[in-house]
Subunit: 286 residues, 6 copies
């Protein structure tokens, strides 16, 4: 992950949570060093481990962080992800932001992995959309890759999507693609969203880089994928959920883009326990 961007985000998130100060931490007598153990309370895929280190470093450079898992690792309930050692009050102050991010990102990675397994067709790639949480796109798209998925464009700035309104404005897919080729440089991919076979043929003739089958059921996707020449990448999107995903196996489409990976996240349950030094027996073996 991009560290300058990550540091800025974490600073902003701590400003949101701590504001003018952690009142409860101010109360707390200094009780020396503690160990905080971050562990999974649910099985899943973890994502965002680097955040633990960067986040606590912003609060207190004396906190020592030992990461026992890496992004993309499958963890089972009860497994330890990381051990932190340092001042007890800082561990408590920093906990919530770290868990909120880690749980959310791991939830996305877990859903992505689950989608891939549900689909069960390694020739089809699962990817994300722009339906991410505003402010967290970098983190959420990273979590999709940690789960084994792929990233669609990051924003409006790094790829062309020609949709119905663009087609209407230019008069035809042919005209819209020609205009894009005429105006855009060679680093920009041009994707056309189509809704029916007539549009598909037009998009193929226009030689779009990518054709997206919008809101087509699995059978139509299969047929459209067969019609499309192999040098054009195909993508299906719209109305695909964890229940219908398996129906797209074997359709031959290259990509399935799934909004639910990021717009409706179920956090992975991860928590942090703080222990006294003399309770650390088992941990010290790790």
């Amino acid at each position: 992950m991009q560290r300058i961007a990550l540091r800025r985000m974490l600073e902003q998130f701590y400003m949101e949570d701590i504001g003018s100060g952690d009142l409860s931490a101010q109360l707390m007598s200094d009780v020396g060093e503690r160990q905080a153990v971050i562990h999974a309370k649910q099985s899943g895929i973890v994502a965002g481990m680097d955040i633990i280190r960067e986040a606590f470093a912003l609060l207190d450079q004396e906190i020592r962080v030992s990461l026992l898992k890496k992004d993309g690792d499958a963890v089972t309930q009860g497994e330890t992800l990381a051990i932190l050692t340092g001042k007890a009050s800082t561990l408590l102050t920093g906990e919530r932001v770290v868990l909120n991010l880690l749980q959310r990102m791991s939830g996305i990675a877990t859903a992505t992995r689950q989608a891939i397994e549900t689909l069960n067709d390694s020739s089809i790639r699962v990817c994300d959309t722009r339906k991410t949480t505003p402010g967290l796109r970098m983190l959420e798209k990273y979590a999709v890759t940690a789960g084994g998925g792929y990233n669609h464009r990051f924003g409006l700035y790094d790829g062309i999507m020609i949709k119905d309104n663009h087609i209407a404005a230019e008069g035809s897919i042919t005209a819209a693609v020609a205009k894009a080729r005429q105006q855009m440089g060679h680093m920009v991919k041009i994707e056309v969203e189509i809704e029916d076979e007539e549009q598909l043929h037009e998009a193929i003739a226009a030689d779009a880089d990518i054709i997206m089958f919008d809101n087509c059921g699995p059978e139509t996707v299969r047929r459209f994928a067969q019609i499309t020449p192999p040098h054009i990448i195909t993508e299906a999107s719209g109305g695909i959920n964890m229940q219908t995903l398996a129906d797209y196996a074997g359709t031959g489409v290259h990509y399935l883009s799934l909004g639910f990976l990021t717009h409706s996240v179920t956090s992975l349950d991860i928590s942090m326990d703080i222990r006294f030094a003399d309770e650390l027996g088992p941990t010290s073996e790790r």
Copy 2:
């Protein structure tokens, strides 16, 4: 909602999505004015309507926005939430950030309303936690209230929570509450998290403002609520989900704080369609 904060957030979110420019919008021929209709594709509770106006105003002050619903309104599938009129390319550029926020906030409002209805005990209030999406706390906590719920503290800065680690550090609940009373001003509420009856009695004796029953089942909650004198507010938290919620009806506790309202959001499906001027007949009736 706080407008200066909202404007800053929206600016940041558009910077994330548009970056150096909307490549697809740059392609688009100017086709005059269009109407964009934002409508619900699912029934639920809407939240975040003001965002529509503020967001598009950042992009283009010529966009006219007509809001047909207000926050907290129940909408049914197909209902129109807002109508926007303006330059087609701006409507397309601004769409995603607005929908991402509106769907997420309406998802939270809907879940909150559903929780309240599931609980079906108007003497118990449903409230949120600090398990919100980093960067969106103001918006997510607002969405909880739009759904009929209440806000717990906003951050570490506006309320004291005395938990196990604080108790351990000070030696006892009694000592921890006394210290809080000694150090904190009169605008700060002091909440104590307890896990068993012994702790409950100690918290009552210490005269905490609020006592939270942590991870206790409904029967324990009922018993603890009866034990606690009426001038102390009671709260149950931990392990309560949409399935177990109804079990807490009639327990007499004052608040149930529910992390899932914000940590695991299912977006409400809301979309935006753009229409040509001559398609606008039926809209004008609304």
Copy 3:
């Protein structure tokens, strides 16, 4: 103090003072290491000692800082607060921002301590208001606590104050408090500002958490405090200054909130001297 917030403030303050560069420091030949001694030129209470370390760390991580006093300590004229060692030009560049903050915060802490001593009634707490310098609220409220005072709410976001305009809008204190109880969660304290005995009785009946006697003289405060039941916290505010403060001793009110602590600050005179290494004899004894 919240370190992320503090660092951001210090960065902003140095940008204001140094701008595109310290012209005088650029002139200066490198003369090796120097010691800078920060000492009090007046007796008082110090506040803001951590700022010394954080501020110079932003400019040059080689500066070594030794703090000889801690926040809340009483110092007498001539006493050394801190000794810094490092590059002479950096010590000069960093001096003014540190002293401006330290003097101002120590001025507030000193005034707070003086107010407490003047009042001479340990059953009454002295607290601040929102009449702080814009941009410095966190620091100024911290300084009040360093002087032995208490913090009223930090902003409009962490406590309810029902004043005349709210009462007029809702029709009565009773209605306004009921509405606040209805809409606000359990972490929010509700304070009602009253001006006469009729209002006091209404506020008591409404069971406000805190009742503030606005602009009442000491005799009225004493009478109102006696009328108010003990479970409601009382506060007097308005028109109390260092001259009239002692008159409130023995009134039985719980809090006196004093705007002058922060709106009219007399800095504590603190200065920094830079010495050559061979002049350091007496310092090494400290």
Copy 4:
């Protein structure tokens, strides 16, 4: 005042005060338009009137502001400074930041005017120092000019001050001034701080642009001013307060720089009252 800078400051100050939202304003029923009257509760010089308009415009562009005084005007107790008309809750939300700034700036302008009158020698100018509140330098230096004073340098970036440490590093005043002339461009003034007559003669010989007599009493200032040739500007600083100021009349020095104008501010008492429409009779005559 620089409007972009002012707007940024006001945004920051409102974020500090309002945070995630004004809880009390959220409670308030909409009661239609109100008038808010800002008036002086004390006689003095006002400064910062433009802030009223800019600040409320950030919160609500429907607020109408009518300014009855301009910066530098003398006001007497009870005089109205401005009348605002708009939504009652916005008027309440915006009040504190505006008053905190206006009171502080007017306090500085008033102290400046008072210093000038106390000095009672129109041939000597009163100016400020860098002992301003961090974050508010632009506003506080502006307030000094509103009171009739002058600005010393704005920061370390727009003028050279050669002090004892610079002299020690370069070996002599002569060497330090020569180096400054050699290295600095023609837009930079070079001021030398001197402590005794020997240094004064050296600074004159070095042809400093400005010579500052540091911590010299009035008699010494008079003598040094006579010694200094007229084309060199003279300044006295250090240890001058409202009590000793008059002693410097007739000394012939050009500038007195007074740290207390900004480091120890007594706010001018200014308040805002909100009135119902039918109470507005007398106001409409103004």
Copy 5:
């Protein structure tokens, strides 16, 4: 251009130039409205016209701006680009930032147009690089398109460039491209930089999207372009300047990327004159 980003940049640039205030403008008596005429003192291509309107709107919403040229227009010496009407002091305060940007962007557009004309081969596109001025990439890349050129990738985030170090790390071009295809989603173009024919054949076999001939002379470029199959885009870069550009005509390469367009800019001479109202006769004809 992206308006939110542009506004943020302009705010930053005015903060840099105006700082705490325009001293000269503060001096100036109010002389009523003036017209400012921005005109070319040199022939060339203009770029950045929208900046004029956005920039002055930040300073004063009363300034009226009439744009007589649009981006990409060729202008000749003496032609008027825009006429502004408003307060004289604001026109002066805002002038320098606007001209600095307009001159620089027009210089880039002019150089781009000149490069295209010098090359004189409409089958080859001229594009930019990442050798832009830090902080101005959006504006400079926009200026290249205004001059008729194309944009290469905007940053490290929106396209893959496989260079010698990547090849060395992965062992071969084949391995590096395969890894990129394996890890990257379908919106990302993969460009391989090659230095000799052996590498070219490997890049073709690996089916790179784009092959860049690095530092090859025109003859080698011609040969490599012939070897490369037509579905792969070719680009030449390195060591091409205005003198050697024409040698690349007819080579059959698709793109020439030219660092000098942005790393070594000669501003187009544009200036602003302010006139009194009675001098405005001839302008009204324009």
Copy 6:
């Protein structure tokens, strides 16, 4: 250079270039440590060496930087400026921003040195203008001094320039200078721009600190410089370029301000090569 400002700028520039992440670096297998050698591909004057250390420290605190040249040093083609050791992918990610700044600043330093040598009159100083790249003024003005030139004012805030519009507004140069002296403090220099001899005499009589001869040829400059008494600093500006510069030698003017130093920069060609450890033989000798 001011380090806090520099760090903020570098963070912004890396955000611009890296955005959500360096896609090519993400691909790259970890190949252990590498050395990156920054060397000149052209002779010239270097400026901005400190940027190398600060920039890479933002990305990775493990990068070790050894600087072999210092700002203002003349380098010849092929000379090594700095050697960096660290993770290969970080070296690649950080390269472009550093080179873009270093090349541009060294281009400015080189042009400045060349201007001084072309002028060949050590009694005349070469200085810059406000025609700098928006956002980079601090860096570009620093580069001018590294090349041996001087800085004119940094912005509108640190010096008065009385130009034709100010003169027209006040009625005369005499009135404008008198007003400036009346209103401005003693740290502000007052420069008057004149166009003919009549204005020159008026500016001399008004005792301006600096008189600028605007757009006068060398003969006029010589004559005006002789007329002006020696205690007033003289400056010539307007229409002076590398071709006409030598004509101003011997004119007796004190300063020549040259817009082209910063508005039309030719970068100095500097590049960075990354080497394997076993290729490091010759470097280790340095």
